[in-house]
């Protein structure tokens, strides 16, 4: 892609550009997001090695123990245990895997579908565009949770089902944004300039149109990643998502609901983990958008 990698080396550095790392250090909220999200991803990757217990191993003798620092707590179970004696800390760590996998994959699938469809609709136009827009309307008329319930019943609840449902219903917003931006970009003179120089459709789309879509798509995608993680949690909470004994923040919250008064630690720790993840994804999204905009460098 880089047309002139060596050109800047031939000349003296003209404008002082602040490195991305410097700018990250100067942006406290972006830094916070990167640190927290990095931590969550780190924990998720290292879950098998750092979690103190097997998250799926029951220990009925140690049922509903409070966190270690409270009366009756066991130092082996830092965040306490649930009804079946599962270690809450281990389950919270393992859940990060499920949630991040589902959140990122579902949004990646939606972005891929939506941007592709949107580019075709906006760039080609005509009958194709009409069809796509009507499809989007139809899609919007079907509540995704309802679709998820139907699909979960039909092909069985699993992480793949959730990803397919959330990804397959989420494309509409990306397609709409993409189509709109492509329509306006297509008429900008720099796109016309590229065409007049002999650029083909592929180059116009990939070099001159798609880069401009990164910011708007990124803004929506970070919000949608949070929503996808939350949607997975709701589905699991309803019993349609991740099936026990596999842990997920949503199913942990669902299990903990009955014990809110007596064993708050069942819901509070996965809840905090969920909140921190969603928050940090949003912060990172904002930061990435700024980093990607040459006008802000």
């Amino acid at each position: 892609m880089d047309v002139l990698p060596e050109a800047p080396a031939l000349i003296e550095a003209p404008v002082r550009r602040v490195s991305k790392l410097r700018r990250l250090l100067r942006d406290p909220s972006g830094l916070l997001g990167v640190v927290v999200l990095g931590g969550v991803i780190f924990l998720a990757l290292l879950a098998p090695w750092i979690s103190p217990h097997d998250p799926e191993r029951q220990n009925l003798k140690a049922s509903l123990l409070p966190p270690a620092w409270l009366d009756g707590g066991d130092s082996a179970y830092l965040f306490g245990t649930d009804r079946l004696g599962h270690d809450v800390l281990s389950r919270t760590i393992w859940s990060a895997r499920t949630s991040l996998l589902i959140g990122f994959s579902a949004v990646a699938l939606a972005v891929l579908l939506g941007v592709t469809i949107g580019v075709f609709a906006g760039y080609v136009g005509g009958r194709l565009e009409d069809v796509v827009l009507r499809l989007a309307d139809i899609q919007l008329a079907i509540p995704p949770i309802l679709l998820a319930i139907v699909l979960a019943a039909a092909i069985g609840p699993s992480p793949t089902t959730i990803i397919l449902v959330l990804g397959g219903t989420g494309w509409v917003v990306y397609a709409r944004i993409t189509r709109g931006d492509v329509l306006s970009l297509r008429d900008r003179s720099f796109v016309k300039a590229a065409v007049s120089l002999g650029a083909g459709h592929g180059r116009v789309v990939f070099r001159h149109i798609l880069p401009h879509l990164v910011s708007p798509i990124l803004i929506v995608a970070t919000i949608e990643i949070s929503l996808a993680i939350l949607a997975e949690s709701s589905l699991s909470f309803l019993g349609l998502g991740i099936q026990p004994p596999t842990p997920s923040w949503g199913s942990m919250l669902g299990d903990g609901r009955d014990y809110l008064a007596s064993a708050w630690w069942l819901s509070v720790f996965p809840g905090i983990a969920l909140m921190l993840t969603v928050l940090s994804v949003n912060l990172v999204g904002n930061w990435l958008r700024d980093v990607y905009d040459p006008r802000l460098s």
Binding site: E6, V15, R188, F190, K192, G200, P294, R295
Partner: protein, 567 residues
Amino acid sequence: MTTSNTPLGSAGEPVLSVRGLSVDFLVNGEWSTVVHDLSYEVRPHEVLAIVGESGSGKTQSSMALIGLLPPSGRATGSVKLDGTEILGLPGKRMSGIRGRQVGVVFQEPMTAMNPVYTIGFQICEVLRFHLGMSKRQARARAIELLRLVDLPDPELTVRKYPHQLSGGQLQRAVIAQAIACEPRLLIADEPTTALDVTVQAGILDLLRSLKDRIASSIILISHDLGVVADIADRVLVMKAGRVVESESSEQIFYRPAQPYTKELIAAVPTLTATAVSETPPAEVAEEAAPTDALVSARRLAIDYGTDRGPRFRAVDGVDFHIGRGEVLGLVGESGSGKSTIGQAAVGLVPVADGSLVIDGVELAGIRSADLKALRRRVSIVFQDPGSSLDPRMQIADSIAEPLVLHRLAKGKELAKRVNDLLDQVHLPRTMLARFPHELSGGQRQRVGIARAIALEPVLLVADEPTSALDVSVQAKVLEVFEELQRQHGFACLFISHDLAVVERLANRIAVMRRGSLVEAGPTRHLLDHPRHQYTRELLAAVPVADPHEQRTRRETRRLLSARGTPS
């Protein structure tokens, strides 16, 4: 209210007196001053022109008078309107002055009027707010005002929405709104910049007559010295937030004291045409296209519009030709179809009917492979350099793009070619790694030109390449252009609304109006002996930076328009 014609610069107390006005903006937590210690007076019936290039502070200093600075700006000093201090008045009292005692006319009439209300409603709103008129009174007055600004059928116009008027008509409506309460002072910020020359002439006539009819003084903010010469009594020249020179119009134009003023006047492209000779010589028609012409159009027709909206015929039955190495100036007003022809020449819009042959290739019904091959030899420079460069691409990549696209160079060779091109348009190589927003308008347009000549085209289409630039910048860009044209010898279709620019560059001129070619001929000949009435009107309407000359031209124009316009 007096309507006597007071002689220049006399007549007692100034309407507006500005003392030590400074304007600062908060940038990254620090106050930076954009207008330094500005002092001037405006006397009754006087037109004061504030002249300067973009960034000189001419607009900000005038907006500061009536508290219209953006939130990050502040103004200090003293501004007295009829002896009363108005600078820094609280919001409510300032609202009572804006529109009542000071009227403002903005540059772009389309954005100055709210598109969801009728013209009448928006004028009545002012009248009812400031003068407490009843609905009926306000309506009657609105119609009167529309008549005052010479709008046809005021009773009908009052019920129209902004989009139903043309740009010139709308600007008249905006002026009607601005003078609704008979303000003491009218601030006109580039009131004719967005308009065609013939329309501009009419608006200037209107402003000139209004200052007497409603006894108002005018501050005219403009970058166009021709406009200033046409109407101003006194001129204030600004540069980088400071006053360079402030003198009577005569003094500024005939005996400028400051070098910057001289430079500014020298940079204005002047039309040397004796223009409006009364008897057009009965010349033979435009010579037939030579057989070896690089570009030849025969009964060319082009439709405009997208596949989503209705199409209309923007160009119809146009014949022209351009020889090798020849520069054809294509002039006309907005909507005349001149840009459409330029876009068709590079294959951006298809030829609907007739024939357009460039370098032996027929563009009507051309196959995309042939078009790509043709684009290797034909290129275009767009009007707005800000939007014709991809904002996410560094300058080096933009200039390199045509070479990369046609696989003409890569690696070291590519870098060398890009550096060469940059040298040719006189830009320092330090620009290579910059992004378009880090360049000035003139620099960006040079990049646009460098990119266009990268492929050594046989034909260059230049679509109003300097109309978005300041005069001094325009002069330099035109110089670069002339130099390149001499060196490379490409033929050029130079599209412009500015006859003076075209006169300087073009070997031949073609005049367009409403999608058809009005007349064409060798530059000198066409300018000296225009045959068509429209060409003569166009020539007469071009403002020149010379008050005396401008006065005679006004007279000729009046004579011309009295004769009526056959189309």
